[in-house]
């Protein structure tokens, strides 16, 4: 799905062609879906490469934790969700945001710190939000949103609204005790929540086995009765299928599951560098993972399935356009006013001072 601002601002012939192509192939089962997911992954990749360049250029100041290399996870999981389902992210959520249908212009503007941003310039890269499409919030306190996602599932259960919530988090997040508490609550109350652990083998500079003895993250819920699945996080179809199972399970009242997707982030923990330059010995791992590029794999698979070169190129061009539009939108947007800095400490409804802005 192309971003809103793209459609509004560009409406190029190309965009319309892509849309037509998408709906045409969507009847063809996995091929159609794969093309869509390929498009989403590419949009994430290109968007983030833009961000990386802009950080290097000094135009973006907010800390950016890039998702490059992990695109298949957000994409495959969100492909299994409805708009009314909610996702909850962390510091590394550009991909989650785009995959769930967030608008790339408002995210880019947010990263620029602009008033047109999805948080009106209050969030930067690490705080993203788009209620209409179920992006209920991404914040950078590690594990911070995991109990919140459980609470959203509790709300869904109490209201019987049939929605599912998804908590996206990294391998490092399972170091936090309250994630285990959350697993227990979810199992105990049979909540419609899916725990998505993106195991990229690092929590900032610390490799998984420097933080724990076993490489067994899919088993995190076993003690509490939350079933776990381990999947290749760089195979978008495998991700989608695992997610679909978990989401169905949740939606039909059978409770939570935990999905471990094994993947790798290409860039540094934060910023555009490759980490290898600051002393973290990831070089060998990176060498293994680069050839497993989820986007290249999807592309190969699409070609095998008979997609035409031309169709793929259109998707690729569209992703580029989309990111460029987002950048120009962000650049053109104004900063929020300094006098609005104290707005919204409290919600407006009850009429406290300075809630508007």
């Amino acid at each position: 799905m192309a971003s809103k601002c793209h459609l509004v601002e560009a409406e190029s012939a190309e965009a319309r062609q892509i849309a037509a192509l998408e709906s045409a192939v969507s009847r063809d089962g996995i091929a159609g879906l794969l093309l869509e997911m390929y498009s989403t992954m590419l949009r994430i990749r290109v968007f983030e490469e833009q961000v990386a360049a802009l950080v290097e250029a000094g135009e973006i100041k907010t800390p950016c934790h890039l998702y490059i290399g992990q695109e298949a996870v957000a994409t495959g999981v969100c492909a299994a969700l409805e708009v009314s389902d909610t996702i909850w992210g962390n510091h590394r959520s550009h991909g989650h945001y785009l995959a769930k249908g967030g608008d790339s212009c408002t995210m880019m503007a947010e990263i620029f710190g602009k008033k047109t941003g999805c948080c009106k310039g209050r969030g930067g890269s690490m705080h993203l939000f788009s209620k209409e499409v179920g992006i209920l919030g991404t914040v950078p306190i590690v594990a911070g949103t995991v109990p919140l996602a459980v609470g959203a599932a509790l709300a869904a259960k109490l209201r019987r609204d049939g929605s599912v919530s998804v908590a996206f988090f990294g391998d490092g997040t399972l170091d936090e005790g309250h994630v285990h508490e959350s697993l227990n609550l979810a199992a105990l109350y049979r909540l419609p929540v899916v725990f998505v652990c993106e195991n990229n083998f690092y929590a900032s500079h610390m490799q998984l086995l420097e933080r724990r003895v076993k490489d067994n993250l899919h088993q995190a819920g076993e003690f509490f009765g939350v079933p776990g699945v381990r999947e290749d996080g760089n195979d978008v179809v495998a991700v989608y299928e695992a997610a679909r199972g978990a989401v169905e399970r949740a939606r039909s009242g059978d409770g939570p599951s935990l999905l471990e997707f094994r993947t790798f982030r290409w860039r540094g923990h934060v910023g555009p560098s490759w980490d290898t330059d600051v002393g973290v010995k990831r070089r060998d791992e990176l060498k293994d993972w680069l050839p497993k590029d989820p986007i290249a794999r999807a592309r190969t698979r699409l070609l095998e399935l008979g997609a035409g070169m031309e169709a793929l190129e259109r998707v690729e061009n569209s992703a580029r356009d989309d990111a460029q539009f987002a950048v120009s939108f962000a650049r053109r947007s104004p900063y929020p006013g300094q006098d609005a800095v104290l707005d919204h400490v409290f919600a407006c409804s009850e009429g406290g001072p300075r809630c508007e802005g």
Binding site: T86, W88, C119, K120, G121, R122, G123, H127, F129, K131, L136, G137, V139, I141, G144, T145, V146, P147, L148, A149, V150, G151, A152, A153, L154, A155, A156, L158, R159, S165, G177, H178, E181, S182, N184, L185, L188, Y189, D343, H344, V345, F346, A347, C348, S349, E350, G352, C355, E356, G357
Partner: protein, 332 residues
Amino acid sequence: MRRVSYAQAIREAHAELLSADPRVFLIGQGLWSPWYAGTTLKDIDREFGRDRVIDTPVSENAVTGAAVGAALQGMHPIVFHPRMDFMLLAVDPIVNQAANWCYIFSGQISVPVVIRAVINRGGEQGAQHSQALHAMFMHVPGLKVVMPSTPYDAKGLLIAAVQDDNPVLYIDDRWLYEDEGDVPEGRYGVPIGSAAIRRKGTDVTIVGISYMAREAVEAGEQLADEGIDSEVIDLRSLKPWDKELVLASVRKTGLLVVADSGWRTCGASAEIAATVSGEGFAWLKAPVVRVALPDCPAPTSRWQEKAYYRTAADIVAAARGLVGVRQYEASA
């Protein structure tokens, strides 16, 4: 009007809220227990069902976080901490999350969660089962804090808290549970941010917080017997607090005692003393006196408890001292 106990008033507020609004639910430790919450939640699970009255594992962080998450999805949960001390395990969801989300997302979302914490002390329970930590949360932008001292306010403030679209910390003190007072039937709210004058007077202003508001009323009576006409204000709401009402009183009396049930340093009493000393500078005839807990954990042994906790007598002594200073200065 009906006389109802503080504990019963809290229970009534819960029942009213649960009856009136399907978005309201309770979650926390002890909700199915016959004793955890005193009688403030007696049989509430039977009345409203265990779907909406959810007792939990001993997992303060995730339970509080889950309440915050449900609030973000439009529910109006009340999360219950049977002791404030235990809530220290849930500071992250309260301070990092609940307090910040409305601001971070520029008002696109609100967090209508009530966090109920009980001050439960005395009875030789000791340092980890006695804390009154309201000041730690008063410090945090984005949180509201209320501390009723009467049955009327216990009910009205809980209702107001649940109806507020922001995270509100509702703190009740078990030492008040047996107190009786007039409580209307039905739903009514006490505006958050408004203090109440419990006694009109002209000689000295006494601002009391929570349990110490009750002691302040008691002190007011004792002072009256001595011929000192105090104005007693029950703050009720700590953040926001009713600065105008307090300043108006100090303008009249020129003297202020602040009586708080928490510690002194950086406590609620520090904020009130600092603010009034500043904005009431021209009116104050003597330094503001803080009657607060010493900077010391709670002891257990009953005699040390007696020496540790503050009562009406301490307020009386403080007020007497202030009035004496003024009279001395007036006569000098």
